[in-house]
Symmetry: C2
Subunit: 473 residues, 2 copies
């Protein structure tokens, strides 16, 4: 078993990345020396993800040729791990029968993902080569709403009947288990395919051979419905520490399962969506590196435009008080400081609340306690900034930089404005996401850019009011 040159964990005190790199160098050498048999053998031993990474790294037209070395099963697994551009490259280099082979080997959820991302003409060709059964299944899955449990589920699960014995169950698992995404959770269904319970391989292993599934199964099944949002599905995995979740249709019939590896992708996708919303971008399904200039422009320009035009309010206020500001020109210099501090304070509060809402740590009904908490935090932050700014203006701007416009009254005006602006920004910043959640809008929208636009206007008004009060202008 120990061929020379073969990697084995036990001889290494290096980390997995180093092993990876060494192996990748070895593969490249094999390819350059055209040692195709050894190359094939090495690739078959490797993890599919690593093979996909290696193949993606081959720049020239040798890539499809190397891909062809793989056995049918490995080829499908590797194919599922490719990015869309590489999948296209491979499809375009394959004959119809090779393509059909790959499609039939793919899990249905991977095939559906592929159909959703490939260009229409390639989809047509793939669908034409698939068997009628596969085609019907893919079409059915494509029919579920985007980002629903139905759209991410797969049909490759092990189903059992409740009258089966443990021995019969294992026989069935052995017979049909080879191609299933998970065999460890088996789903017990009635003659009408209604979900009646689940039983794990652990339950089966720890039971006697002639025990009956009905006595072992858990009837208290956690499940999702086909139209349920994927975010709610992913919460169930996180709450209940699941490996797989059954998906039922409106009649309670089992139509598919979602596995935990797909949920990790969903979580990444939902997080990306939140990031994009929070930075005032329209969420996109495409990764940044594969988005075109025009696509990125389309996702960014609506919000930029809206926010730019909203700033008209601040222009109007400044125009209105032009004469007043002319009397105390020193005040103008601190407008950016005030707006920046307001925006940053609001962003902190809104981000904390958005995240807390999305983790289920805070709920809309906690609105009052959140407001009271943010008020107190804001008072502390505001007071600190107010004091530091007062000293800074008198010492740095006034004494060191000899700015004659900076009197004690001016420093007091700016500093007190900061206190009230921070309080306003934090309270509003924490309440807007909760309000959004209440009316069914994604709270992530109420992040920095939108909050800044709101606080900018109010910050100016607070500033001008302070100036009137303290400087009597």
């Amino acid at each position: 078993m120990d061929e020379p040159g073969r990697e084995s964990v036990q001889n290494e005190a290096m980390d997995y990345e180093a092993i990876q790199e060494k192996r990748s160098d070895e593969l490249t050498a094999l390819l350059d020396h055209r040692s195709m048999r050894t190359l094939k053998q090495r690739m078959e031993e490797m993890n599919e993800f690593d093979v996909a990474e290696f193949l993606s790294g081959i720049e020239d037209n040798r890539m499809p040729m190397v891909f062809r070395l793989l056995s049918k099963e490995t080829a499908a697994d590797v194919f599922a791990n490719f990015d869309v551009p590489d999948q296209e490259r491979i499809i375009n280099s394959m004959t119809d029968s090779e393509l059909a082979g790959i499609i039939e080997e793919l899990y249905v959820d991977d095939a559906v993902d592929l159909m959703e991302e490939l260009p229409a003409n390639v989809v047509k060709r793939v669908m034409r080569t698939a068997t009628p059964q596969t085609r019907a299944l893919i079409n059915q899955y494509l029919h579920y709403p985007e980002d629903s449990a139905g759209s991410i589920m797969t049909s490759e699960f092990v189903d059992l009947k409740k009258y089966m014995s443990v021995k019969e169950s294992f026989a069935r698992i052995r017979r049909i288990g080879e191609d299933k995404e998970t065999i460890y959770i088996c789903f017990v269904i009635s003659a009408h395919r209604k979900l009646e319970g689940i039983v794990t391989v652990k339950d089966l292993l720890l039971a006697d051979d002639d025990a009956i599934v009905e006595d072992l199964m858990d009837r208290n099944v956690i499940f999702a419905t086909t139209t349920e949002d994927q975010e709610s599905v992913s919460e169930k995995f996180s709450d209940y520490d699941l490996m797989a979740l059954p998906v039922v249709d409106t009649e309670g019939r089992l139509v598919g399962i979602v596995t935990v590896d797909d949920i990790i992708d969903v979580m990444e996708q939902e997080t990306t969506e939140d990031f994009e919303l929070m930075a005032a971008m329209t969420p996109s399904d495409k990764p940044y590196s594969r988005s075109t200039i025009l696509e990125i422009w389309k996702n960014r320009i609506p919000w930029l435009m809206f926010l730019m035009l909203s700033a008209t309010f601040t222009s109007m206020i400044l125009t209105h008080f032009e004469d007043m500001l002319a009397v105390q020109a020193a005040l103008i210099a601190f407008i950016p400081t005030l707006m920046g501090t307001g925006g940053n304070s609001g962003a902190q509060a809104s981000t904390a609340v958005i995240r807390s809402l999305s983790l289920g740590d805070t709920e809309p009904k906690d609105a009052f306690s959140v407001m009271w908490k943010e008020f107190r935090v804001a008072f502390l932050c505001g007071l600190t900034l107010c004091a530091v700014n007062f000293v800074k203006m008198l010492v740095l701007d006034g004494m060191i930089m000899h700015n004659d416009g900076i009197t004690v009254s001016v420093a007091l005006t700016v500093s007190l404005a900061i206190l009230f602006i921070v309080i306003f920004a934090k309270v509003v910043g924490s309440m807007l996401p909760i309000g959004a959640e209440k009316i069914g809008v994604d709270p992530a929208v109420m992040a920095n850019p939108l909050i800044s636009t709101v606080t900018d206007t109010v910050s100016l008004l607070i500033y001008i009011y302070m100036a009137k009060l303290i400087l009597h202008i």
Copy 2:
């Protein structure tokens, strides 16, 4: 098997949440009627997470009493699902021997989490009641760096030897499997506990009874080292679709495993950290709802202070050009618009790049192509905003609102400034996160607040330069 009133999925076309709510009402009714036997029976059938949710909802001092109804195994599982405050409540209501029972039943990773979060005096009591073996194990785990693979791993795994037959393996799994976090992935170790391979229950099930583990096991094991960062561990789960990952020490000895349910928690924690960094807050381990006012203040004030003081540059610029701005007072009104647009444009670019870096979609070596992409997107966005703003200023501010200061030249100054500001903001916003990644700083820091502070200063300079150029002042 079908007792009256018993919930069963097959009769329902409702979703899981509705079933949950109905069950929770039933439990409350049982508690109010003091039907403790039925209550205990119902709780034993339910998922531990749901039992924990139900118990957490009991406000008064009946909660520990109801918790005591649970069997030892269920009690430990439910306990692991509690929030820290509820865990404390339970611990304080338990005798030492009850407490010891719970601790011994907990998986080591859950026990370690508990020790990290409980107050020191409670930790002392818990450690005192644990057996010496458990105490030693907990202490060893507490020793690993925070957020390392060692700190999130658990010791409850199934180990096999390579000379074992399938039959012997199943016998071992049946004997020791009951208390393991996963039995589906078994780890093959040498006499010196070095990791030699992994074999899944699927492999074992599909093989003959007298096949030997060595011939079935996969030697190409993906593993982590004890000190490896949890973010890198979570990437491995996402890349390789893993259920469990072995963790080895520097000598290659297997010391624990990380399971996928823990990785879902890690992903949530890392995302929260990114959110916090991106909104200029020091990341905290504590959920928002449990953080005190002072803790929140401590996490927020350093950045607010730094950003406020950085705004001194904008004050200096504005003071320096005071006389010039006095000549064309209309220009002042558009300072917030320009700064806001610059900040928002930069935030979009930086967020897109931060996320793309963290998903491995973009790498620091792509810096040039990212810059070129952002330049072209910025040119398009800038041009659009420039045109819209020009028309808006002339029509809305000039004609409709009769602001005499808005001449064609002023509108052109502001609009052209927008074009250049957007280009600057997007290019810098995309490059700063890549720069941070290169020097080993978390790119998430280079988000909206910091980018805004940079773009604010430059936006003003661009604006003033434009005014000089076009308005000759």
